[in-house]
Every structure is written in C-alpha cells, then in structure tokens.
Amino acid sequence: MLLVKNVSLTLGRSRILEQVHVHARPGELCVLMGANGAGKSTLLRTIAGEYMHYQGSIALNGRELHAIPAAEQARQRAVLSQHLALQLPFTAAEVAGMGRYVYRGEAGAQDKAIVTYALRLLQVYDLKDRAYTTLSGGQQQRVQMARVLAQLLEAPDLHATDYTGRKMLLLDEPVTGMDILHQQLSLQLAAQLARRGVLVLAVLHDFQLAAAYAQRIIMLQQGRVQAQGPVDEVLTAAHIRDCFGVEVSVLHHPLCAYPMVVTNTAATLFSSSADKAIKVC
C-alpha cells in the first residue's frame, strides 16, 4: 500500500510538485500520465527516495519513507529509470545480475536462477554474453527491465510467490525505444506482476498502452494531480484537453475492451493566437 499525501517538492527554485495526493494498492497497475514537465518522473523519483527533502508524507505500508533504511527499501522496491548509460563493457547477464546486489551472499544458486529466468522472460537470454554497450537501445531497455525484475523476484517463477504488500515496482517510461512486440510483452509482464500482488507504478506516454494495461490512471498537470481513478473515468476528452492541450475523441469499439483515444485534425492543435501568427509567417 502506497499513500502519498500532500507532497510538495522544490528543486532549485522551481516548484515541481504541488500538494500531490496519490494512493495505490497492491495488485494494481497504476499509470502516471501528463505532458512533458508535468512532474511524472519527479513524482516517481520522490517515491523512489531520490528527493528526501519533500514536504508532506509518503508512506509505504504505513511506514514513512524516511524511516525505512536504504537496504530495506531496495528489498521492497525496484526502480527502472530513463536514460541509463553504461561506460564499462559489462555483459547483459552481468547487468541483469546487478539487480541481485541487495541479496548478495544470501541466496547463492537461487540468484543465478532468478537472473536467468528474468533474462528469458524479457527474451534477452541469447544476448547474455554480449557487451551491454553493443546492444541496441531497445535491447538495452529489456536488459534493464530484466535487472529490475531480478531485484524484485524471490523465486525463478513468476507464479510461485504472492508478493502482496511486500513489493513495489516503479517504471519510468519502461517501453520507450522498444518495438511493439516487446512493448506489449513488457507491459503484460508488469500486469502479471500486479496480479501477483506487486504494486506497479509506471509512467507511460501512450494512451493505448495505458488504457489496455492500467487499472488506475493518475493524470498530472504542472505538478498537481488533475485526475485520478479507473481508466474510463480519467481517460476522457476533457481531461486530456486540460492536461495535454490536445483535442481528442475517446471511442469505444465493439472489438476493443478498452477506450481508444484518437486525436482530432491537426488544425485544432494550434488554438492560441501566438501559434497562428507563427503559422502565417
């Protein structure tokens, strides 16, 4: 159970988060959405313990983030950030194995089995001996996902353990750079984890992916929560206009279980007079 209450955060001189209130239950896949600079990544990082000077309260299972030691946090929570650069030519298997750092020396052979399992799930096992630096962007992202999975899992089997109330997974744009097959695969994996009781919080940009996989959507605008709730309630034309400044239609297709978001013609994008002036020039 994650409860974010009245959290505000200032970085440098700018206020990034303003009175944010978010709650997420184990077993849910929550998706954070919002325009560039709305504070999605910052909120995720704050929950990940990167900005400990936040105001307000972030409670994990009733315990305030400040009160949980770093190693214990790493056992409860795995985080996948954006833009991971690696200078040294570690192999894909070594990178995925780093996810087991916090359990080093405890699990022994289990560690290796979990890492292998994670690499197989993300379909990068055949790349395991390649240098990470030589992989493509999408492949690197999958290896990172395998690392995060290795940190989260307690057994080399997704279905063996119930993680309710014990594990949290934070994903910052996890599918950026992946091909469509692996986007679906990764999010299916996140959904499966959620079904095993893991609390999953992911930043996504794609409305279709969010609609298909999320149980709840939290929409941010300029550091505030604009809307939060089940997909049908949040993913409306009005909310999307408010947060993204884009006119859309939300359609329901008989063959599709979730709402489809379709952008209207491009002309409606440029509504302000300043933009019109630019267009005329």
């Binding site: 990082r45 990940a48 313990g49 990167e50 000077h53 770093a70 190693a71 946090q73 790493a74 056992r75 929570r77 795995a78 985080v79 950030s81 991971l84 650069a85 690696l86 200078q87 040294l88 030519p89 570690f90 192999t91 070594e94 990178v95 780093m98 996810g99 750092y101 916090v102 080093r104 240098a131 630096t133 030589t134 940190q151």
Partner: protein
C-alpha cells in the same frame, strides 16, 4: 562459472609474474645475483638452507639495498594500480586517475614549499639526527598536503549531502591549476640547489628506499589493498549510475567517501616518499580491463598486482639503464605509459561515450 575461473586464474597468473619480477629485480644491479642465489638468501632468513653458494657481502647488498627498494616499488605500484581502478569505477570515467582529484598536485606544492623553506624550518635542528628527522617531516607534510587537497576537492563537490562526481572532476582541475601556480611560485623563488631538488622530486624516484620508508608506506597501502576489493560488488552496480546504485541498495555516499579516503591513502604515502610517478594509475586499469573485463571483483586485485609489476620493472630500468647513474622512474613510466595509453584509446575509440 567459467568467468570466475578466468578471474582466479588471471589473479594467480599476475601473482606469479610479480614474484618472478621481484626475484629478477632484486638480483639485478651492480652486483649481479642469479635468481637461485636470491631465493637461497631469502629462504636462508626463514631457516631453510639451499645448496647454492653465494659470497657473504651479497647478503648485505640484498637485504640493505635491493630488497627494500623492490618492496617499496611493489607497494607504491600496487597502491597506484588499485587506486586508479577504484577511481575510474567511482567516476565511471576511464580517464580518471589519482592525479585528477588532486593527490599529486597537493603533494607537489607541499613538497616544493618544504624544499624551499627547509633552511629556515630546520635551522634550529642542526645536528646529527637532523637528516632523518628532516626526511620524515618532509614525507609527513607532503602526505598531509595530498590529503588536504583531496579533501578540498571532495568538499567542493558536495551538494545537499551527496558528492556530485562531475563537479568533483571540475573541482579537481581547478585545484590542480591552483597548486600548479603555487608550485611554480616556489620554483621561482628557489635557489639553484632547491630548484634541482624540486625538479627531481616531480620526476619521481625510488632512490630513497630503506626499510624505514617501506615501514612508513606499508600500512597506508595495505589497508586500501585489503578494504577496496570488498567494495567491488558495490562498484559494479555503481557503473549503472548513482541513482540505480541507490535503488539497488548500495549505500552510495558511504561508498564514495570510503573510496576517496582509501584511494588517497594508497597513493599519497607513495607520492610522499617517491615523488610523482605518472601513468601507472591511468594505464594499468585499462590494460587489465582488456584482459579480464570490467568486473571490479577481478579488476581491483589484478590492477594492484599489475601496478606492482610495472613499477618494479620501471624502477629496475631506472637504476640499470644508465648505471651507475639513475634515470628518474617517473620519466620511464611516462615514456612507456603514454604510447600504451594512446594505443588503448585508439582500440577503445569506437565504444567510448564520454
């Protein structure tokens, strides 16, 4: 499993190489000793007698002149190697070396000040014991100079409660420049004799080796040699980035602080007694990485062993190439190190993303 075997075998291979180099270096010089004679004299001390003949004065030469110098080279080389590898891991930058965070610059400026101010500082202590006292004080102050400079660089990089690695590199450049200016100032006011001393000090030499200097350097190198490899798993995760290391459960700020302290210790004591010896800390980790890969669990011990081998060989060359005179060892490490480094850069150029 294959990897682990590979790691252990490269560590033992380098270990054997180091032993061979030690025996050869100890035997080579004005009085030539065969490797067997060297082994015989060393084992004699341990109470094992080998049927090898050697003249009586050979024992004295070996114990008093050769061995302390070789051991000193081994210690300083190992310290430079492991500190270089650790700092490159910390900065996640293959260009990092101990000089970058101000160790050498701080030591240089204090050494130059000590040399120039010597006539005033030690005027009161004229007498029999002045020489030894003076060299001890010199080493101690130089060591302190190195530590203080690194500490300033480290302080500059602190923001909030964490050290920002990029700021640390920039701070290092600034402090290096400042120290360079003061060293220059000292060079300017120095007289001819002092000028010679300063220049020779910056070129590096193991000529001052004795059991006393070995004893002075030993603890400062031994502690990092034992403690730095324990941080290897955390350093591996650190390669992903500071944030990822933190999310994976690494105590990032503790790791950084300890790493800086131990690396400085490993280098500063050596610099204090032997002056500036460049390129070992920079080149050795690169060479080892080509052999063993980037895993710090193998890299750190291997870099220590390889640093020891290289400096022992360099010092052997320094005292035999133009015998009976000596070439400063820093010149040899630079002449040999720079081309090797260029070759490594050319090889790695494709994959570099700094």
């Amino acid at each position: 499993m294959k990897k682990r075997v590979q790691g252990i075998s490269s560590i033992s291979l380098l270990g054997i190489l180091l032993l061979l180099v030690i025996i050869i270096a100890t035997g080579t010089g004005a009085m030539q000793m065969s490797p067997l004679q060297v082994i015989a004299i060393l084992l004699e001390q341990a109470g094992i007698r080998l049927p090898v003949a050697y003249p009586e004065q050979m024992i004295a030469v070996l114990w008093v002149i050769r061995l302390p110098r070789v051991i000193l080279a081994v210690l300083i080389g190992a310290g430079l190697g492991i500190a270089g590898a650790s700092l490159q891991g910390l900065f996640r930058n293959p260009l990092a070396d101990p000089a970058l965070i101000g160790v050498s610059a701080g030591a240089s400026v204090t050494a130059a000040i000590m040399i120039v101010l010597q006539p005033w500082l030690f005027a009161v202590h004229a007498g029999q014991s002045a020489g030894i006292w003076q060299s001890y004080a010199h080493n101690l102050v130089t060591f302190a100079g190195a530590i203080v400079t690194v500490w300033i660089v480290f302080r500059i990089s602190i923001y909030g409660n964490r050290a920002i690695v990029a700021v640390m590199l920039l701070g290092g450049i600034a402090i290096n420049a400042l120290c360079g200016a003061f060293t220059g100032l000292m060079t300017y006011v120095a007289d001819n004799e002092q000028l010679r001393s300063i220049t020779f000090w910056t070129l590096g030499s193991l000529g001052g080796a004795s059991w006393q200097t070995v004893a002075a350097v030993l603890p400062f190198v031994l502690v990092p040699l034992l403690l730095l490899p324990r941080m290897a798993p955390a350093l591996n995760v650190f390669a992903l980035g500071e944030r990822e290391a933190m999310h994976s459960g690494v105590k990032v700020s503790t790791l950084k602080t300890q790493l800086i302290i131990y690396s400085t210790m490993a280098v500063a004591a050596g610099v204090a007694v032997a002056g500036i010896i460049g390129f070992i800390g920079l080149v050795v980790p690169h060479m080892i990485r080509q052999l063993t890969g980037p895993d710090h669990r193998v890299l750190l011990p291997c870099a220590a062993l390889a640093g020891a081998v290289l400096l022992t060989v360099a010092d052997l060359l320094s005292r035999t190439m133009i015998a009976p005179a000596e070439l400063p060892v820093g010149i040899i490490t630079a002449i040999a190190g720079a081309p090797v480094f260029i070759w490594l850069i050319l090889k790695e150029k494709r994959t570099m993303t700094i």
